[in-house]
Symmetry: C2
Subunit: 139 residues, 2 copies
DNA sequence: TAAAAATACTCCATAGGTATTTTAT
DNA sequence: ATAAAATACCTATGGAGTATTTTTA
């Protein structure tokens, strides 16, 4: 298992659509399909149920998701802590987030970030993954 | 960054010796050296101080270590939770651990494991990494 | 039919190895 | 003289891609 698998897994858990999730993590649908299957094989458990043109988390997937999100969040914080307290980073930072990250990661990330960069005005907007990607694409 | 980097980093942080840490994670000294450097480059920070034939954690490394350990521990628990509550796993399980893991990971792992496998008698022994690997090699 | 996931195959980036050099006791 | 880390170079595994097939609303 590598972080790659977790990133892909979380993307798919949020989108529940291989094609869209693949785009989000910047790989092709084929690659995402491979890697998810690989993760499932390593865990000896299906994480997703692929039926009737729809993708859903299995019970195992539901169990795995919060842990995976938490582990990645922990590393985000670690990286933020390491960033050499860049002498006076200022300005405005707007962050868009999906519900899953908003619950599990964002609060801790804000804590770490604002402690380090008190001069940055930070706003967070929650929205669906689909809506966020639309906004990003509009730029 | 991949989980590989974290595993290697933690091993080196515990051993503070490239050759020994490399053996622990089953790669060569050369590979470990490469991967650690790669991690440091990605983070933009030296994690270890290589001076006078000795290796030590830098301040950044000290900051990074507990987060890395915690993230990996979280995943260990996730994996343990997923293991299909194998109908009546029984017997005795002896676990050897290094101090770092004993503090950060073992307590949570025990909680998850005993909840799932109440019939297994579990004992944990803490010792130095060097001593543990010696014991393992004796088998 | 479309729209999405799985599969077959190809390619190449890089993890990991061997051999050697450098550095410090 | 020795022990350990860095470096140069090579190999081959597997991540990622394209193209195609299968599946099901």
């Amino acid at each position: 298992m590598e972080l790659r698998h977790l990133r892909y897994f979380i993307a798919l858990a949020e989108r529940l659509n291989f094609t869209h999730a693949a785009a989000q993590v910047h790989v092709t649908q084929s690659t995402l399909s491979h890697q998810i299957r690989q993760l499932e094989e390593e865990l000896g458990q299906a994480l997703f149920q692929r039926t009737k043109r729809s993708v859903a988390l299995t019970a195992a997937g539901e169990l795995f998701l919060p842990r995976a999100v938490h582990a990645l969040g922990e590393l985000d914080i670690a990286i933020a802590l390491l960033s050499p307290a860049s002498p006076e980073l200022t300005g405005q930072l707007r962050v868009g987030t999906t519900p899953t990250f908003d619950i599990h990661v964002i609060p801790r990330a804000i804590t770490a970030f604002t402690a380090r960069h008190p001069a940055v005005r930070l706003t967070v907007e929650e929205d669906t993954a689909a809506s966020i990607s639309r906004k990003v694409l509009q730029r």
